[in-house]
Symmetry: C2
Subunit: 255 residues, 2 copies
């Protein structure tokens, strides 16, 4: 790598020592932007902030920040997510890097995107409230700055693809949830109706769920049994391939 370029000694302003640097290369900013998704029982929601500074002041934006000298991209993503939501240990995955030279009008910034799935009920607005954050339903998104629209679209495609084979949507639910809730989440993501008998059978056949004795009566008189994840099984089979969707609902696409 670094073809045809050499490294050499340069004076370092900070430490006043000579340090090695690659010669004749342009350095630039790296930002991390987070696509933070939630599900409120009916709709998928995206968490956005209102920028407090130029450019595009007041416009809506993904939560992001610049990569700092001592942190990895994963660190940065966690930090940013934590700053906004107060949450830690949530599902967070590196997605894609965006690099059009003029994507940020101020100066060149390469953006590495992460997508996060959080239990919307656990979201606590930070006391400072300095970000003016708001949840938007996916079909009521405002105009976003820069290429953030494209990032959101890609995240959604990726989620659709991945959730068809892997049990990641559970990350959007509270600890206890019902099968009808779970099914609504799948139906919402793929905008389709699923037969509940077949769905139940498939979901239970994964052995990922443990039935509770308690019922959720908020949506019906009869009440629906709560389930929780079997953490053992979940961790173990996190990566294995399941089949949550009927054959003809599986989306084309990849990643």
């Amino acid at each position: 790598m670094k073809l045809g370029f050499t490294s050499g000694l340069l004076a370092c302003f900070k430490c006043n020592q000579f340090v090695m640097r690659y010669s004749n290369q342009t350095r630039l900013l790296v930002a991390v932007d987070c696509i933070i998704l939630g599900f409120d029982g009916t709709d998928y929601k995206l968490l956005l902030i209102q920028r407090g500074f130029a450019p595009e002041k007041e416009k809506w934006s993904l939560m992001g920040g610049f990569l700092q000298p001592e942190e990895t991209l994963d660190d940065a993503a966690q930090r940013i997510l934590h700053q906004l939501t107060g949450l830690q240990h949530v599902y967070l995955e590196q997605m894609h890097s965006f690099s059009k030279p003029d994507r940020d009008p101020i100066e060149r910034v390469v953006a590495v995107t992460y997508f996060a799935l959080i239990d919307i009920e656990k979201y606590q607005q930070q006391i400072s409230d300095s970000f003016h954050a708001r949840w938007f339903a996916m079909n009521e998104l405002p105009q976003l700055i820069f290429d953030h629209q494209e990032m959101v679209q890609m995240a959604l495609n990726k989620l659709r693809y991945k959730a068809a084979f892997h049990p990641i949507l559970f990350e959007l639910l509270p600890e206890k949830f019902t099968l009808p809730q779970l099914q609504a989440m799948y139906e919402g993501l793929y905008d389709t109706k699923i037969d509940k008998r077949n769905f139940t059978r498939k979901v239970l056949s994964t052995k990922l769920l443990k039935k509770q004795n308690e019922k959720d009566k908020s949506n019906s008189k009869k009440g629906a049994f709560y389930y929780t994840l079997d953490e053992e099984q979940y961790k173990e089979n996190f990566l294995s391939i399941h089949n949550f969707l009927p054959r003809y609902e599986i989306p084309a696409g990849w990643d």
Copy 2:
């Protein structure tokens, strides 16, 4: 994004004008590294170069280069791939960004990796031969610099996962190929034996292949019929989900 940071006016050395920049942020190098894979009929091969400069001079490395001011990451990856192989329009996909602060001892470099699948027979060493490139069988890799080993491992996992559902391995084959060749490629990737009757049936059921009249007699007296991709179908069904493997060979993992 760019939380709590402002943009402001700064003098620009080059153009001697005032330009906007984000304040108080560290800029750094972004590199693109390519994991270039081929298949020679028996083994998967990785294309490596021998670094001609410090650090790690003479050691083996993925082909890479720094992101230039006027290009996107995709541009850079194509440029780098072209520099080394002379090839254009090959399968090239952004994979993952690596960011440990000290991954490059000279200075901080964030590396965005791409993986490329090429027909090994089309590879032409560039006249200059300035990169000292060589194909290595995947099980005979030399020690690699920095975190390149990790990158290669991730690429291989990704390929295994993806090839189980999508027709990407064809990118490794010449225009005309036989079913035994194709099967050998799948068997090699998953280190398994596949029943040829079942395999043939599955592959042909995708309708992606067109049988030729000609035979390849280089591997048997009887000869095996050549097939080519049906470009129409291939483009159309590039993203759809197929099933090239027996159930129990499908790898855990994702992406």
